[in-house]
Symmetry: C2
Subunit: 474 residues, 2 copies
């Protein structure tokens, strides 16, 4: 079987760069660096991810909206931390046709400053709350670091939920709901992850606190897939989002946001793929099953008819199935669908038809097995579930096998992946660790673990108050 | 029943401006004129329209892609007519963060110049053809005319199909397929329309010819919903899109595009709506049926249970159904769902439950009728079909009743809507008619009608060679 030129275990980053183009996900030759073309297969895959997000959002009573892309400079500047955080990475529109604009506009890097002036018009009374909205749009950030398809780009396919609440407690409930949604969604993508409460110096510009959703890539670098922010009333004050409470008083809303990006796709590619190509979780695979007729002269009709019957039965069970009848060799078809990551391949030849059976080959193991035609309605969905579980477990092993609780810098220096150290709570000590390990502070675990108090901060020697996670990140 | 402040027959444009906000389609208070906020209901409705388009595109083997929004100036300038046509109406990005860009970028007004350099990389041989792609994205045009929601905006929700072919004939076949797609799609939206071959001076910048898709709004002004362009090799030459033919020679592709915009929604609102609000074609109504329980004390459970049963049955027939159990009066619910244009309202009270029946009220006629519970699986889909047909016929009457074949300017001056005049084929004569009628040249009918040769051009008196349509347009 043909394989990628670069092997995943030899050079993960190069393998990744090769696979995203080989598998027809994107084209990086567009003449603006970091603004890539979504090819049909990549866009279809991303659309399936988007639809899973929509499902979760609709189920939790969020409403989909779509706000303008351009934001006038004065709107943007209302929240001071926000402009400071984003000012150096936005694109500016200065002219329309041959005229100079009276005021510059920027392309949204995220939509707080476009939405909140309008929210302040939509929200009048406590009866309008909670307001739960989301949109799936393109956002823009002027990245100066090296770009990488889906992982670090300048035009970003982005999901952002924005909510408004009567008080801090209700916003906290929203943060909890968002965490549940992330857990459900990433389970379906077979992506085990960790939540990290970001340190003060690395929270979102304007947030009260930020929880990041991080996965560990096979290169042992973490990738942040999304984040959940508690804003408190940090934005509602400058943007004047108030409501009339039941007692007639006027109060500022408390707000949250929850964002994820096309990095979800980057994680699917990077974590599940192998040297033959993508390996797609069934929930988002554009085709979950491909059926390859193995044709010998004179037996074509019999074989093709069985293929179509099998496809029809599986489709009636809501599986996404494709019968590949193209006039190329089965070997070429295997190669192509392996590259595209289709979870299950079915092979049907004349002998299979005679024996009322078919051959199933799961993408991840390539271990063939025979299924009786009368059993396919049970066995094929089960084979997809089994593959799903294997993908999740394999990914889980990467993260659990590379998360190390240690108590000294010396031990930490020897380790790859995520190291968790006792921490005294002082910014300077964490920043010291970052420097020594040449990594980033991921943040603290959300679960409180009192046992850390038995340990001392490895930098200053004071009593530790919490665990802090460090890693090299994308 | 509450109605709009402005009546549709009194002042269509004002009625339209009122209804788009009253029905929660959009919010026009965003601080950039012509860049509106899609509210949840409007966005849902537009998404249903998009999905109908996707259905048609997928059925005809087009592949969905997504190209970058920003286009470097040099790419844009390769096709001379194109830059001349769009140069004065594009937005320019000049800065990223605090730095000036080496080259200006523009926001796509349409995507030819972003796509075609990449098409030239994708297409190698005749085996790669036809290439049939489409995308649904936001585009940007600096409109200096008065803006109007969905009809004339500066950020446009846009559908664009781009195809490449071996020769002119194959591109012509694509134009025919596009016309069929437009016909199917607009039928489902209950929007009768006419194709017009645009005059030379008003074709798309760079096109060989342009066919517009026009509807007549109740204000007797036409609205162009979309267009189909035959490009010939006008773009493939400057963008170097060539293929190796079977005989080994290298040839330029012939290309077509097919575009439509959120104006589809503007037409649905304007043509079908009335003084009570929207009237939505079933194919795109976010809710096709709303069920209102008429509750009397002590009978709640019985009524609600029947409502849920009816909803379940209709949903199993793939209808979009909503049971409105909110604690407000039925009258308020009627008002709200009429405003939102839900095609069918079902009322169920205790007496209906006893009689195994329900009451159906179609949105367009408001004529109640009773359906037996045992008949709903047949009668409700039929009621939707009937409404669909009535919407189409009513709209058809607007256009047929206001399309006038006349042979003199004097007659034309007395008429509203679309006037069709014999024409000698000279630009100057058509432009004269435009001036006199204070309207636009819509274009010529696609069907050749030899009878026109019996007539003379009403401006210069020469023999007429074709009919030409004129109208006031949005």
């Amino acid at each position: 079987m043909p394989e990628t030129k670069v092997k995943k275990d030899d050079d993960f980053n190069e393998w990744y760069n090769e696979i995203v183009e080989l598998a027809d996900l994107c084209d990086k030759r567009y003449p603006i660096k970091g603004m890539n073309v979504w090819r049909p297969y990549g866009w279809k895959l991303m659309s399936h991810v988007d639809n899973l997000i929509r499902e979760e959002m609709n189920r939790s009573d969020h409403q989909e909206v779509c706000f303008p892309l351009c934001i006038p400079e004065t709107l943007f500047q209302k929240e001071a931390d926000h402009i400071e955080g984003f000012g150096s990475e936005v694109y500016w529109i200065t002219h329309a046709g041959h005229s100079k604009l009276e005021e510059r506009w920027l392309l949204r890097p995220t939509s707080e400053t476009a939405m909140y002036p309008i929210f302040s018009l939509w929200i009048r009374s406590h009866a309008d709350l909670p307001l739960k909205t989301y949109q799936i749009v393109n956002t823009f950030r002027y990245e100066t670091k090296q770009t990488r398809a889906f992982i670090r780009v300048r035009e970003i396919h982005f999901f952002e939920a924005h909510t408004c609440h009567v008080d801090f407690e209700d916003a906290e409930r929203q943060v909890k709901e968002d965490k549940d949604i992330a857990t459900t969604l990433l389970k379906r993508l077979c992506l085990p992850f960790i939540f990290n409460k970001r340190p003060e110096w690395d929270k979102f510009a304007g947030a009260h606190y930020t929880i990041s959703i991080d996965v560990l890539m096979p290169s042992n670098r973490t990738l942040q897939l999304g984040s959940i922010h508690q804003y408190k009333d940090n934005f509602s004050k400058p943007y004047d989002i108030t409501y009339e409470a039941e007692d007639g008083s006027h109060k500022h809303c408390h707000q949250t946001t929850y964002g994820m990006s096309e990095r979800l796709l980057g994680a699917i590619v990077g974590i599940h793929g192998d040297n033959k190509g993508l390996v797609l979780p069934p929930a988002v695979a554009p085709q979950q099953v491909v059926i390859i007729p193995i044709i010998f002269k004179g037996k074509e009709e019999m074989v093709l008819q069985t293929c179509e019957t099998v496809a029809m039965i599986l489709k009636s069970h809501h599986l996404r199935v494709f019968v590949d009848k193209r006039d190329i060799t089965p070997g070429n078809k295997y190669y192509e669908w392996e590259l595209k990551g289709v979870p299950l391949r079915i092979e049907i030849g004349p002998r299979d038809v005679q024996n009322d059976q078919l051959v199933v080959v799961p993408r991840d193991t390539s271990e063939k097995f025979v299924v009786s035609l009368s059993d396919i309605e049970v066995q094929l969905p089960k084979a997809l579930d089994d593959l799903n579980e294997r993908l999740y477990e394999k990914a889980q092993n990467i993260i659990t096998g590379n998360m190390h609780y240690v108590t000294s810098i010396e031990e930490a220096k020897e380790l790859k992946g995520i190291v968790v150290l006792p921490w005294c709570g002082t910014d300077a000590c964490a920043l010291d660790v970052e420097n020594i390990l040449e990594g980033n502070t991921l943040g603290e675990p959300l679960e409180i673990d009192e046992t850390v108090k038995q340990h001392r901060c490895p930098v200053c020697g004071s009593s530790a108050i919490k665990w802090m996670r460090f890693a090299r990140s994308y």
